[in-house]
């Protein structure tokens, strides 16, 4: 890292210390989980922990034999459905909120966000009753829609902030070019907002992928997600620590792949050159 004028070796050292501390803070649990997943059941709980050991892949093979693939499939379907629905509904909603004038629009975006202010428990019971009467309990769709109630306001809020930075001259230029509102959104706004759409997709995916409480309440067997499945491993009598660790490690992979894929769309400076 190049030193700026006026900075001493101490400001460099301070900066590196902060970076190292944050990295340790973030990465330690992951490293620890990965190490634990490669130990035997006894070794995993040994105090002091063994630092040098022969890795044991037994836990990973049990993921495939132990019926976890279904949970992975459910999680993936739920998260992707949620991402799709959030963007499908959130993008037009946010666009309308930024481009329509009036008191109603201002208040609407506030009320949309207000659902996030309520504790989750206030939402769970009504949702449970609702999905029960619709016959959707224990289906991926129910969990997706429950997640949607939380991710949609978040997405709208983020997108509204971004859409406001896109000059309205562009809409009007497109209007004069003969575009209707949907064409303006599709041909002008969405391509410009691609980095933000990618960010929203990442956040929504990660939320859905890791969400526990709603998935736990709304599913029992068929639609169980990975976090719920992991929790169910922690029984009262036995505690299969390597398996829990292995599932957790594997469960990070789809999220990493998705984030890596989406992140390619976050190209900075795409919006520059529109005006001036």
């Amino acid at each position: 890292m190049a030193r700026k004028p006026g900075e001493t070796i101490w400001s460099d050292a301070g900066r590196w210390l902060m970076i190292t501390l944050s990295l340790v803070f973030v990465l330690f649990p992951i490293v620890w989980l990965t190490v634990a997943s490669l130990k035997t059941r006894n070794a995993a709980l040994a105090v002091p922990p063994e630092l040098i050991f022969t890795p044991d892949f037994d836990a990973y093979s049990r993921i495939f034999s132990g019926g976890f693939l279904g949970a992975f499939q459910n999680s993936l379907i739920i998260a992707l459905t949620n991402v799709f629905l959030t963007l499908l509904l959130g993008v037009p909603a946010a666009y309308a909120l930024t481009r329509m004038r009036g008191k109603v629009q201002e208040n609407l975006s506030f009320w949309l966000l207000s659902i996030r202010m309520a504790p989750l428990f206030a939402v769970i019971l009504p949702l449970y009753v609702l999905f029960k009467s619709l016959g959707l309990l224990d289906t991926p769709l129910a969990v997706s829609m429950a997640h949607l109630t939380l991710t949609l306001p978040l997405a709208v809020w983020m997108l509204v902030t971004y859409f406001r930075t896109i000059p309205e001259d562009l809409d009007q230029a497109a209007l004069l070019d003969g575009a209707n509102s949907l064409q303006i959104l599709w041909l002008v706004i969405i391509p410009i907002a691609r980095p933000m759409l990618a960010s929203v997709a990442i956040l929504v995916f990660i939320y859905s992928w890791n969400e526990f409480l709603l998935a736990f309440i709304l599913t029992s067997r068929n639609a169980q997600t990975v976090p719920v499945a992991v929790a169910s491993l922690a029984g009262t009598m036995s505690f299969d620590w390597p398996l829990i660790a292995a599932v957790s490690v594997v469960s990070m992979l789809p999220a990493l792949v998705f984030v890596g894929f989406a992140q390619r769309h976050i190209v900075s400076g795409l919006g520059s050159g529109a005006v001036k």
């Binding site: 000059p167 562009l170 004069l176 002008v188 919006g271 005006v275």
Partner: protein
């Protein structure tokens, strides 16, 4: 090519009335410039013509057909925005031909048309670049190209030069004038810069707080401003104003006194009516000489090469004289200002120009 008629156009935002009833006829193929200070309503008026703003009242006609409620895309107008408003994710060719794409024209034809217009604007090597890779002047030309591609009846320009540097501004100004000469379309151009207005316009519309202050050719506005606002707006440096009290008139002469007690007489022949409250003298008509009517002290001298601007503090105000020949006075020198009898602009207490008898001859 289309003639435009505005009839009682009004526009309000809530309780704020931005346009207070605009009546205007624009001839087919005319280059009309809307000019005025910030907030005078010139851009709003342009946007009403474009259809980007709905008028709160009044009607808009293109060639005697009512267009007040026609959507923007169907009006046959193309607009060049102050910000250019280029689509940042599209290359130059796609930017220019977006309207054709939306009209369902196939890709090969679009490319052909883009190449044709690019040729005209010297943009040919840039067709595959994105706006972010272009200079300000190039972006400006792409924005103009996008308007030309549509082959509109009316071109609308909303302060298109204000983001360019001085040299490029003059170059583009000339370019737009040439374009009008080639295409012969009706063009409406908004600016706050009176030099742009004077140099480009067939006719200038001066707007002041939502009403038309005066309409006329650049020379009409320069030579016979209808009121003190127009007189002060057109011309650079600004016209000098001398508040006076009329002490008496008759016999083709009017006697004046100023606030500081100077008294003088000018041979002005004008019909009976409102008393003169202000004299307006353009810097190029204000001379310095021993027989001047009011005394003052030189505060600043600006040498511009072909001419000098002399700032004189007199009668509690600063007067500017444009001197093109002879000796230039020094700073702090005491001088006398010669108020000409012609061309001299006369205004009543309300700021309206007072008409003089047409037979009054130049000095």
């Amino acid at each position: 090519m289309v003639a435009v008629r505005l009839q009682g156009i009004r526009k309000s935002y809530g309780t704020v009335e931005v346009l207070k009833g605009i009546d205007l006829d624009i001839q087919d193929g005319e280059f009309v410039v809307f000019v005025g200070p910030s907030g005078c309503g010139k851009s709003t008026l342009l946007r009403v013509i474009a259809g980007l703003e709905d008028a709160s009242g009044g009607d808009l006609y293109f060639d005697d057909q009512r267009f007040t409620d026609v959507p923007p895309a169907k009006r046959g107008v193309a607009m060049v925005f102050q910000s250019y408003a280029l689509y940042p994710h599209m290359n130059v060719a796609d930017n220019m031909t977006m309207s054709l794409r939306l009209a369902g024209v196939d890709k090969a034809k679009r490319r052909e048309r883009a190449a044709e217009v690019a040729e005209m604007l010297q943009l040919s090597p840039l067709l595959d670049r994105k706006p972010g890779q272009l200079s300000g002047g190039q972006r400006q030309r792409v924005a103009i190209g996008r308007a030309i591609v549509r082959n509109p009846d009316i071109f609308l320009f909303d302060e298109p030069l204000s983001n360019l540097d001085a040299a490029l501004r003059i170059e583009t100004r000339v370019g737009i004038s040439k374009l009008h000469h080639t295409l012969r379309n009706t063009m409406i151009y908004v600016t706050h810069d009176q030099v742009e207005a004077m140099t480009m316009a067939d006719r200038i519309v001066i707007l002041d707080r939502g009403v038309i202050a005066q309409v006329g050719t650049p020379m009409e506005l320069y030579q016979a401003p209808a009121n003190i606002f127009v007189a002060g707006f057109i011309g650079s440096p600004k016209m000098n104003f001398l508040p006076v009290r009329e002490e008496g008139r008759g016999d083709g002469k009017v006697r004046f006194s100023t606030e500081t007690g100077e008294a003088f007489e000018l041979a002005i022949d004008l019909p009976a009516g409102e008393p003169i409250a202000q004299l307006g003298i353009r810097p190029e008509n204000l001379a310095i000489g021993a027989d001047g009517q009011i005394g003052g002290r030189v505060s600043t001298v600006e040498q511009l090469g072909s001419e000098s601007l002399v700032y004189v503090e007199a009668d509690k105000a600063t007067f500017v004289c444009k001197i093109t020949s002879g000796a230039t006075p020094k700073i702090d020198e005491t001088v006398r200002l010669v108020i000409p009898e012609h061309p001299l602009h006369l205004f009543d207490a309300g700021g309206e120009a007072l008409p003089r008898h047409t037979h009054s001859s130049p000095r």
